[in-house]
Each structure stands twice: as C-alpha cells, then as structure tokens.
C-alpha cells in the first residue's frame, strides 16, 4: 500500500470531516433558519467531499477497510486535521471566523490540487472547488456584515478572529508525508500558499473594519495528531453509534 499517499489523503479529508461535523452540530441550533440551513448545507458539501477522499483512501489501503471505517474507527491521535477546524462553535462570530479562515485556505489549496499528477485527487479537487467557492463567499460576507455592523457585532467578530488567529499558521506547516508527496508531484507545497492567504485575509478584515491580529504566537500539532482537548469530545459524538453498535448500518 502506498502509505504516504494514504496518509496524505487522510490529512486533506480530515479537515473537511471535522469541520463538517462541527457545522452539523448547528443543525436545528443556528441563529436563524437561513444560517442554520446554510451551515448544514456547507456541512453536507464537506461530508460529500470526504466520502470521495475516503473511498479513494480505502481503495489504496487494499484491505477490507471501508470509507466508514476510516471516518469512524480511528483514535484521536490518528486524525490529522488542523487545530483550526476542531475549535468549538462558541458563538456565530466564532463559527463564521473559523469558516472564513479555513475557506480562504481551502480554496487556494484545491486550486493547486487540481494540478496534481494523481488524477483522482485532481478530479476531486476540480469537483470540490466549485462548492468551496460558495462557502468562501458566504463566510466572507458574514465577516463583513458582523465586522462592519454594530459595535457589539464588531467586538464579537474581533474577539473570534483574535482567538482563532493562533491556529492559522499551521495550515502552511508541511509534514513528512506532505514533503514526500510534493516531491512526487502529487502533493501541494502549502508553504507557497501562505503569502497569498494572509494578503487575502488581511484585506478582507480591513474592509470589514476589523484589526489584523498582531500576535506571532502560533499553535500547531493537529497535522501530527496532537490535538486540542476539543477534538476528543467531537469524536465521541461522531463515533458514538459505531462504537456502541459496531458495524451497524442504516
């Protein structure tokens, strides 16, 4: 089995899986009906994308593993998502700030992944990018509406951006699996996305009447499986059915 490729796919897919699960928590709990539906629609897109990635990963694994096994039956340390996407919903400002900080990266990442020499990955990227461009429009719009809204909405959005900022640098951190895949022309050199990312994010924050955080202290670890305490709780929710009733099906 191509271990590096397998790990690489999981690294990409886990971001969508965990963010999709977070957004799914808002089903029936969104601040308004429209935002509730929007968040769950984005969640559905992300889960759909995850299925494409995991089906491919299961095929590469070549044993009896299924997409569901990969999604549901790993331990916390085996999930390779970035710390940003596992952060809790807290309030709508946090939910949208997290979404925005990820969407800008996600769109840039998929744009590059379309050029991958791996035809399945490039096809998935080509499919996903259309959906993610809608996500990015939606979250950017809310950054502007809340940032440039009332004093209270501005303060809440600023707080969310300040708190989540520390997780942004990890997006551009390269793991060993990443480096190996870049060398083979399959993977994306994420370090090259960094400059453009911060420019785009900073410009939008400015437009939204928000301050770009000055802190240079960044957290990382998710890509190596070292997570914040939030992931464990999320996984216990996500995995509950398969752990309680192994192999159950709809």
């Amino acid at each position: 089995m191509k271990q590096n490729l397998y790990n690489y796919i999981l690294g990409i897919a886990d971001n969508s899986l965990i963010l999709g699960q977070r957004l799914g928590e808002l089903c029936g709990h969104g601040p308004t009906l429209e935002t509730d539906i929007a968040c769950t629609n984005i969640s559905l897109d992300l889960f759909g994308q995850v299925r494409s990635y995991f089906q491919y990963a299961a095929k590469i694994a070549g044993d009896n593993r299924t997409e569901d096994d990969i999604a549901m039956l790993r331990k916390e340390r085996e999930y390779k998502n970035v710390l940003l996407v596992e952060q809790p919903n807290t309030n709508f400002a946090y939910t949208m700030a997290r979404q925005f900080l990820f969407d800008v990266y996600h769109l840039a990442f998929l744009t590059e992944l379309q050029k991958s020499t791996d035809l399945t990955l490039s096809a998935i990227a080509n499919k996903c990018i259309k959906e993610v461009s809608y996500h990015e429009r939606f979250s950017s719009d809310w950054i502007k509406r809340l940032g440039d809204g009332t004093d209270e909405s501005n303060a809440k959005m600023q707080e969310a951006i300040n708190d989540l900022w520390t997780y942004t640098d990890e997006l551009f951190h390269q793991t060993e699996a990443d480096k190996a895949m870049v060398a083979e022309g399959i993977g994306i050199d994420v370090t090259k996305l960094k400059e453009h990312y911060y420019k785009q994010v900073n410009d939008l924050l400015e437009e939204a009447n928000l301050q770009v955080p000055e802190s240079k202290w960044f957290q990382k670890g998710g890509k190596e499986g070292i997570h914040t305490e939030h992931l464990g709780y999320l996984l216990s929710d996500l995995q509950y059915m398969q752990r309680t009733y192994p192999n159950m099906e709809w």
């Binding site: 539906i37 559905l44 992300l46 494409s52 035809l119 080509n126 259309k130 959906e131």
Partner: protein, 166 residues
Amino acid sequence: MKTTEQNIDDILIPILEQVSDPEIPVLSIMDMGVVRSAVFENNIVKVQITPTYSGCPAMDVIGDDIKAALKTAGYNSEIELILAPAWTTDWITPRGRKALEDYGIAAPLDAEADKDVLLNGKRIVKCPQCGSTNTRLVSQFGSTACKAQFQCDDCQEPFDYFKCLK
C-alpha cells in the same frame, strides 16, 4: 453545451428518461445531465453517473432507480459514480430548465449574472410564479445544496433559485 461527451445507447434513452430526480420529481435525470454514459458490455448495461454536488444525498437513490428501471425493461446493470468531468449546470437541457421553471424553481443564470445576483444583490432572477425580476436573495443556501432562497417583492412568493455551478 457539453452534452457531446455523453455516450448513451439509443435504446436506453427512453428508459433513462423515465427516472426522475428524487428531490425535483419533474426533472428526469437525463434532463439533469447526471447520466454520462450507458452502454452494453457483455449483456450488462454499464451506467456512469456523476453527482451534481459532492454531498448530494440523491445519488444513491438515483443509482437504485436506474437499476430498477433497467431491470423492468429486462436489462441487468452496473452503476458507477464518476467525478470527472465535474458536473455543471450547463448540462441541464433546455427541456430541463423549462421543467424547473414550471415546478417553481428559477433556472440557473450564467456564471457572471449568478455572481451579480449572489454577491451584489442585483435583481435579475425571474420569479417563477409571476415573472417579475423584482426579486431578492434571502439566503445563499436553500432547501438543498444546489439552490439559493429568493423572494419576489412583487407577488411576495418565496422561491428557490438553482445556483450556477461551473
């Protein structure tokens, strides 16, 4: 329209046209453009379908419905889900667009106009109920992933707009 990429055996077309999109029952999967190929291979019909959106929950049902329809017509089939080339709203046929409008869903505009509507609040989407373009975006995401929510400010009816995907 890129329908030339389709490869569907003529005998199978009328059968596949009977299968409808489970979320938009007036629309056949053929008019939706999700069937990319359907050909005989060793007495089995091999059908390739492509999802509109990655997370579209209708795909499994569509696959089962195709199998059932072909079985009724006396053919065994195998369904394969393909991702490339990625589906685009350009593949909805003119008949499909008409069916959407009749059903109360505004058909997708071209990519530029779609951007104007969803980002700049331009009033150009035609209300499928009264035909007015005095309509506004309520939410970028509607009852399914492929639609946005609109309201007509003339007849006041809310309606879905099928988002451009390109």
